[in-house]
Subunit: 190 residues, 4 copies
DNA sequence: GATGAATGAGGCTTCATTCAT
DNA sequence: AATGAATGAAGCCTCATTCAT
């Protein structure tokens, strides 16, 4: 049975994306990817080079919060809150954050991860902010986003009850507002 | 070559704590610990059993936010903000969060990590809260704390400028307040 | 270097069979098998899994006394006697008994061995017996068969002189008859 | 607490004898012996040298079938039958055969075992026989004795029912008679 | 002389990668 | 160009033994 080269490439990439997001860089073996993609192991090396480069390709192809950041500054907290709440309560979610938060510990891909956090999350976020300390405010929001990724990984979707989703969104919106909006006065009087 | 069991045990434990916090569970090899502790590999297994058990011992010995949570509910946001700000700006920091956030992806120790997050961070936090949705509020704060750990790992202390520390503390205090305090009205007005 | 999966598999299996029979489970290392099979160690694990599973495969492939038990009850003692005599006097012999008797002490494979003794020796033997106490009679014969395996291992082929083979067969036949045949009167008169 | 040197020696020897008989040479670790004897590991090496030499000492101290062989040729089959039956049905038994049959696979002590089989079982047995082929006859009986050791190790005391003991002794007596007694005519008539 | 900490060797297993076919 | 067999490195762990104290 002849195989279409492009199709195989795509199947490998799909499998890699899925597995990296679910298990993290370290836990994913080349054999696992090959099995999941129903492709030959050597093809992965042939098409993408080493494991690291395949990971780089996956990162590069993953959009930067597809749709999430396409709002103005005012709507951003609510939008982020919904995104994070979905990831905490449902089984699915954009794999970008999952991939990053599950793979951040591997030094081999440290730079890739760092650059990706910058280009996919922190910088787009910062670009939508006005006022002072944009980097700092975007940084805190980024930390919260990635932290929920870790939390999700540890506790699955059970950390909050399903019926709490509205409360969760409301609370997260307030938190992201605290992260992102300009404050008139310092919040720690005295 | 010293021959002091307690001293060697401590050296191993110190090395393990340092390395696990810096590199994460997966990246730390028994050989690396042995070299760092200037001890024989076999001794690690003799004193602590398997690698997983050594990690458990490290986790168990690491206090639960030493001193950080010893405040009432009102002072908690400020306290957490200072703690997190210190970790983001200084070279040192409590290794608890670092260890946890760098090791969360390893399935072998998944339960240990989860239990530790609960017993060291989430539950103590929740215990200090009053009002509704305590678990949810403590959960979001926990996510933020762990997310800053990941951020710190990725960017070192360079994510915020040193002179921004006051602004950072102020901002983080507001964010933790948004996480933890009881709100009177829904936070998403039209 | 050949690149034939089936051939390599067979070489590994042959080497394993030979070595397990000669040295017993414990004394055979994966490295030794690899060297004997002229194959890479990792291939053994890839093809057969763990050492225990390779041993199970060897056991499974070894027939159950090929041809030895294909006689009726009357001819059985003589047949067994010849089989055992051959093993005690010649350099070769069915590796089943050798493998079992040399590996019985390893707790890791205790169940495998036990099941194999049952399915390859004791139960086929018992199935050919009529009259009372078939399990007991087959059990004693099994003990004798395995004991000669141990004896062979300890003394090689020197335990009996070559010219004694006829006497050995005669004597063993009598012994197996005493094991297996139905007796009319109790064998211990006052 | 001062320890009596002789007492410690004896405790070590006792523990070693017990463990070697129960588990076989390979499975017994120096630490296990030390723990069982409640003694220091280094003392074993100090008192007995290497593990092999400790095993030699155990073998040397173990009598040669204490009491079993103290009968004339006529009573020997019955005596051996009772001995073997006891080992197959009860929890206890002379550790000589157990030690030997469980340790025969270790090449390190191969010679020790072989010499011990000769001096403790085969030669005493042979010395009590008259007529031709004494070595051969004693050899077959030895094989049966050791084979029951292996059987016992594999199946515990469940290979025969408890109420079958009389039948077992009767049968074994007949078998040992077939091994040991002088036959007038070859047992395999045409 | 007694203690137990320290050691080096070696065991099994798994991985990413390369190399014949 | 595609396949998958082969490889070497490395990981964790355990053992008998030696060496300071």
């Amino acid at each position: 049975m002849r195989r279409d080269r492009e199709d195989t490439r795509r199947r490998i990439l799909d499998a890699a994306r899925r597995l990296f997001a679910e298990l993290g860089y370290e836990q994913v073996t080349m054999r696992l990817i090959a099995a999941e993609a129903d492709a030959n192991i050597a093809l992965i090396n042939r098409y993408f080079g080493a494991k690291r480069e395949l990971f780089a390709e996956v990162l590069a192809q993953q959009g930067r919060f597809p749709g999430v950041l396409d709002v103005d500054e005012e709507g951003l907290p609510r939008r982020l809150a919904e995104y994070v709440a979905d990831r905490l309560t449902s089984g699915t979610g954009s794999p970008v954050v999952a991939t990053i938060s599950r793979s951040a510990a591997s030094p081999e891909i440290h730079e890739l991860i760092r650059d990706r956090v910058l280009s996919a999350i922190l910088e787009p976020l910062e670009a939508r902010l006005t006022g002072p300390d944009t980097r700092l405010r975007a940084g805190i929001a980024t930390a919260l986003i990635m932290g929920t990724g870790t939390l999700r990984q540890l506790f699955g979707t059970d950390v909050v009850r399903a019926q709490d989703r509205d409360a969760l969104v409301a609370r997260l919106t307030a938190v992201f507002e605290a992260c992102l909006t300009v404050v008139d006065r310092p919040s720690s009087p005295t």
